[in-house]
């Protein structure tokens, strides 16, 4: 409990500084361009309309991920589902980089069995 509160207070002090947490759009443009032409033949190669909609979905997914990730780091200590996600991601940062890869959801961590351990002070119950 004390550790989490301590980190939260530090995070609050520094949060006004941060404008580096989201992915730079210049790099994103390069990634989308290269990605689109790499998997061109894999998703709806014959249907341009569906291909475009699929890419819009991918980018929506990215927006959700980056906004959730920014909020995880900069919104103060929270309750409920978001709070659980916050503690899960803190644990990934402060005690276990080699697990807990899911940021916007735990789904793939559960499927690929890389979920973080529940017995850790960084994820203590409130």
């Amino acid at each position: 409990m004390e550790y989490t509160t301590c980190y939260q207070s530090i995070r609050k002090t520094l949060s006004y500084l941060s404008d580096r947490l989201v992915f730079p759009p210049v790099l994103a443009a390069i990634f989308v361009f290269v990605g689109y032409h790499t998997i061109y033949g894999l998703v709806f190669p014959t249907n341009r309309d569906l291909r475009l909609i699929y890419w819009v979905g991918l980018i929506y997914g990215y927006i959700c991920y980056d906004m959730i990730h920014y909020a995880l780091h900069h919104v103060g200590k929270s309750q409920g589902y978001f709070g659980r996600l916050q503690r899960y991601h803190n644990q990934h940062h402060y005690s276990g980089e080699n697990a807990g890869y899911g940021v916007s959801s735990k789904l793939w961590d559960i499927i690929f069995r890389t979920e973080l351990s529940k017995n850790d002070p960084h994820r203590e119950k409130q």
């Binding site: 947490l21 979905g57 980018i59 927006i63 402060y94 980089e97 793939w108």
Partner: protein
């Protein structure tokens, strides 16, 4: 560490749970034992408060006053792994990443700029769709498939690209790119 002298004035301004009183009790005294027992990382992070030393000079792998990327280029593989596997520098301002202004400029983005930019781009893509050719149910399904794919992509990127420290090639370019993509976020979780 070689018995560093810490300047704690910055810490006293913070509302640290437990109070700054504890730290003040150790004014002009040796606090290393308490720092070590508080948390594994506290002792290491306190290094950024050092303003001098009772014995040797302070040695830092990375100097927060200079652009980060150039310094990443010069450290060896072992130093790099230690750097990105734990949070550093609790007490410094947002450091400069690049020597060149245009690169530095591109490394700073407000979250809402990203949101607006991507929404505009996706709106443009949607305007290019011939909607008379597509059933709305199919369109909604494909859109959801896209969102779902990104969630999987996010996992794949984090597991096998961002956290590839264990099998990262001992190569300057590889370390440079890895640091830019994700290493810096683990070194300074609240900043980049």
């Amino acid at each position: 560490m070689s018995r560093p002298l810490l300047n704690i004035t910055q810490v006293l301004r913070w509302s640290i749970p437990g109070g700054s009183g504890l730290i003040l009790n150790y004014k002009n005294k040796d606090i290393s034992h308490e720092l070590k027992s508080h948390h594994v990382l506290t002792y290491r992070m306190a290094d950024s408060l050092a303003i001098g030393s009772f014995s040797n000079d302070i040695k830092r792998v990375i100097d927060p006053e200079k652009p980060l990327m150039g310094q990443i280029w010069n450290i060896d593989h072992q130093q790099y792994l230690e750097l990105v596997n734990s949070p550093h520098w609790l007490f410094v301002d947002s450091p400069r990443m690049f020597h060149y202004d245009i690169m530095e400029f591109n490394s700073h983005n407000k979250w809402y700029h990203i949101l607006v930019l991507h929404l505009l781009f996706t709106s443009y893509l949607l305007s290019q769709v011939t909607w008379t050719n597509v059933q709305w149910k199919v369109a909604a399904l494909v859109l959801l498939l896209g969102i779902f794919s990104f969630s999987l992509l996010e996992y794949i990127l984090h597991r096998w690209l961002f956290h590839s420290e264990n099998y990262l090639f001992d190569n300057k370019i590889v370390r440079y790119l890895h640091f830019m993509l994700h290493g810096i976020h683990h070194m300074l979780p609240v900043d980049p």
